[in-house]
């Protein structure tokens, strides 16, 4: 059965870019969902569940990232990931919700 593509665009606000720790939290969040999620810039895309791909985007401050998901829980996944990126300046201690 075909699922529609859910999509959103976020911008990295943190001065330090999408560095190791937020990238890790992002990947952990993505891995909670069953849907396929990709993340990318205009130049390249990668698997949002792979820390290698996410960090490999080398997203510096101001980079616009596009998140797309397809699958049963795609809508929720995109919303949660968008909220994470929006909330983050990445400098405060992130919430601990059981990883």
């Amino acid at each position: 059965m075909d699922h529609p593509v859910c999509q959103t665009t976020v911008q990295i606000k943190s001065q330090n870019g999408l560095h190791m720790r937020p990238a890790m939290q992002f990947v952990d969040l993505a891995n909670r969902y069953n849907c396929d999620i990709t993340i990318g810039t205009e130049k390249e895309r990668g698997d949002a569940k792979s820390i290698m791909h996410v960090i490999g985007l080398a997203a510096t401050a101001g980079t616009r990232l596009d998140i797309r998901a397809t699958g049963p829980d795609a809508e929720e996944a995109v919303e949660v990931l968008r909220a994470f990126m929006e909330r983050q300046t990445f400098d405060e201690v992130p919430p601990k919700d059981g990883d």
């Binding site: 330090n16 870019g17 560095h19 190791m20 720790r21 990238a23 890790m24 990947v27 952990d28 990668g46 698997d47 569940k49 792979s50 820390i51 290698m52 791909h53 960090i55 490999g56 080398a58 997203a59 510096t60 401050a61």
Partner: protein, 579 residues
């Protein structure tokens, strides 16, 4: 195939398999395996990942108990890498597709990945490469067990590729098997450069990210003549280089045979060939190549790569060693020519906007008297050990020369008071390397025992060209009529004042300029050791009469291009194999 350009610091050409060293001496072994072995390598890779995950989880938990938030975060990130399916898939795919070892696959996938970060301008992101290297090392440690590379036990010829070579690493080399050196970092005075020159093997440094491009076992060509390193060259390139290398070796051997013969023109005029050195042990190479002494001993190395100024004792030891190697041959020690570089710039509050026209060389010395005096003391003390001459660099006017000489006399008086012996009649000369010095050479000659023409700076300052700036470097040429006319003036003024004259810039080491320099009246050339035989060969093929005819023609020409072409053609006729 990938071609990287760096700085050539030791001449020659080598083709071989590379051995990559990182700071922990891990070596990534040769990569190719039989296709039947692939499953085994995939399993080894999986085991290494599993072992590394176990190890890291343990470390992470230990940190948790210690409450070390930041370090725990780092371990947590590394753990996610090790569990990353994409990463594992890339590694196993590489093993399957290219039949390579697990070590090679791990290193090349992770190094390729790290290379992406180093391209990013943002330092916070670019520093992530360090994390990737850390993960790579952890995996390699599990793959290789404790098989640290023991460089002393090399059993096959290798080309050593390193980020930066440490003295400890090179001390352990089995030198018989190291055929070339290439490093990411470094300059002419870096450790890799010194070792390579002393071993007589080609080396290229400042390659920036070579260790990320090359993986252990890759085939590499080191071209220490042109400053190139070629990774995984294609068959055509290898063939070209093999031919080039054979020619180079053949030429070297042929030239070695003239080592004992004098540097004499066909009509019997003797030319003195001296060596340019930076390090005491290079003096050996100069003598070996037939040099009759040291015409330019650059002393900057004593100051570089260290946090503090060298002591008088350190200066003295370096000079004593050089003089010991040279015995009774002359050694011209140039006082320190620092400037426009990290050393002097770091001592300033504000960087100079135009360092080549700024506080450098003798100007810097005259403003840092304690430092200058320590060097002069050491030179004078060493002067009783051999035939020492002192040379001041970058003199632009007579006042500077007088001031430098006055300081030298102060130091002499101090030594007299302390009863320390030195050569009272020590020759004191100058580098003529600014247009102002060249134009006032007749005045400067009255207070100099000798001139040495530094053609590199003289060309640069005369033509207002930074030879390091690619956009204008084609304008840089010692064959420019303006430069040649200045050189002629200096030579004539030295003759009139009856003082010694030599040429020590790169112009002196290029066979194509030999004839014009001889024709202008130069009888002493100072050049880097490996180039001495070729220049000697050139000298032995010409007559002074030919040189005079050529020089008269050239001085009548108005364009650099015309002169260059003419000189090159003339040299090619005399010594075809050198071009």
């Amino acid at each position: 195939m990938e071609i990287k350009k760096g700085i050539a610091v030791s001449p020659g050409v080598s083709i071989g398999r590379c051995l990559i060293l990182d700071s922990e001496d891990y070596r990534i072994p040769r990569r190719q395996i039989a296709s039947s072995q692939r499953m085994l390598e995939v399993q080894r890779a999986r085991n290494a990942f599993a072992d590394a995950v176990r190890e890291l989880s343990g470390l992470e938990q230990a940190q948790e108990q210690l409450g070390g938030g930041r370090i725990k975060d780092i371990f947590a990130v590394h753990l996610r890498f090790l569990r990353d399916r994409s990463l594992r898939r890339q590694i196993t795919d590489l093993i399957h597709e290219e039949s390579v070892t697990a070590e090679y696959a791990v290193a090349s996938v992770l190094r390729r990945f790290a290379a992406r970060f180093t391209e990013v301008k943002d330092s916070y992101i670019s520093e992530r490469a360090a994390d990737v290297y850390d993960i790579e090392r952890r995996l390699l440690r599990h793959l290789l067990g404790d098989k640290r590379e023991d460089l002393g036990r090399l059993r096959e010829e290798v080309i050593v590729v390193a980020r930066e070579l440490s003295p400890t690493q090179t001390a352990g080399f089995n030198k018989a098997f190291v055929k070339g050196i290439a490093s990411d970092a470094g300059g002419r005075t870096s450790h890799a450069a010194i070792v390579a020159r002393s071993l007589g093997i080609p080396a290229v440094v400042a390659l920036e990210d070579l260790t990320e491009i090359a993986s252990g076992g890759d085939s590499v060509i080191i071209d220490g003549n042109r400053g190139l390193v070629i990774v995984n060259p294609d068959a055509e390139t290898v063939a070209q280089y093999e031919a080039y290398s054979r020619e180079f070796v053949a030429l070297e051997q042929k030239l070695d045979t003239i080592r004992e013969k004098p540097a004499e023109t066909r009509d019997g005029v003797t030319i003195t060939l001296l060596g340019n050195i930076e390090f005491p042990d290079e003096a050996e190479g100069v003598i070996e190549k037939g040099g009759e002494g040291i015409g330019l001993y650059r002393t900057e190395f004593l100051y570089l790569n260290r946090p503090t100024e060298p002591s008088e004792e350190e200066h003295y030891r370096a000079y004593a060693q050089t003089l010991h190697l040279c015995q009774d041959r002359p050694v011209v020690i140039r006082t320190v020519d620092l400037g426009a570089d990290k050393y002097t710039q770091s001592k300033r509050f504000a960087p100079e906007p135009n360092p080549f026209l700024g506080l450098r060389s003798i100007r810097f010395c005259l403003q840092n008297l304690a430092m200058f005096k320590a060097q002069l003391r050491a030179i004078l003390r060493a002067s009783v050990l051999g035939r020492v001459k002192i040379m001041f660099p970058l003199i632009t006017n007579i006042q500077e020369l007088m001031q430098a000489k006055m300081i030298l006399h102060d130091v002499m008086e101090d030594l007299d008071e302390e009863g320390i012996a030195y050569d009272r009649r020590i020759d004191v000369g100058i580098m003529v390397e600014t247009p102002s010095a060249a134009l006032t050479a007749s005045t400067l000659a009255r207070d100099s025992d000798f001139f040495s023409i530094g053609t590199n700076d003289l060309t640069q300052y005369t033509l207002a060209v930074d030879r390091g700036n690619e956009q204008v470097s084609t304008l840089y040429s010692p064959a420019d009529p303006a430069v040649l006319r200045l050189v002629r003036t200096v030579i004539q003024d030295a003759y009139k004042a009856q003082i010694d004259l030599s040429v020590c810039g790169e112009m002196a080491s290029e066979p194509e300029y030999v004839m014009v320099l001889l024709g202008l009246g130069v009888r002493t050339l100072s050049l880097s050791a490996p180039l001495i035989p070729e220049v000697k060969q050139m000298i032995r093929c010409v007559t002074l009469e030919d040189c005079h005819v050529l020089t008269r023609k050239v001085l009548g020409m108005n364009s650099e291009r015309q002169i260059s072409n003419y000189l090159r053609n003339a040299a090619r006729k005399v010594l075809p194999e050198a071009f």
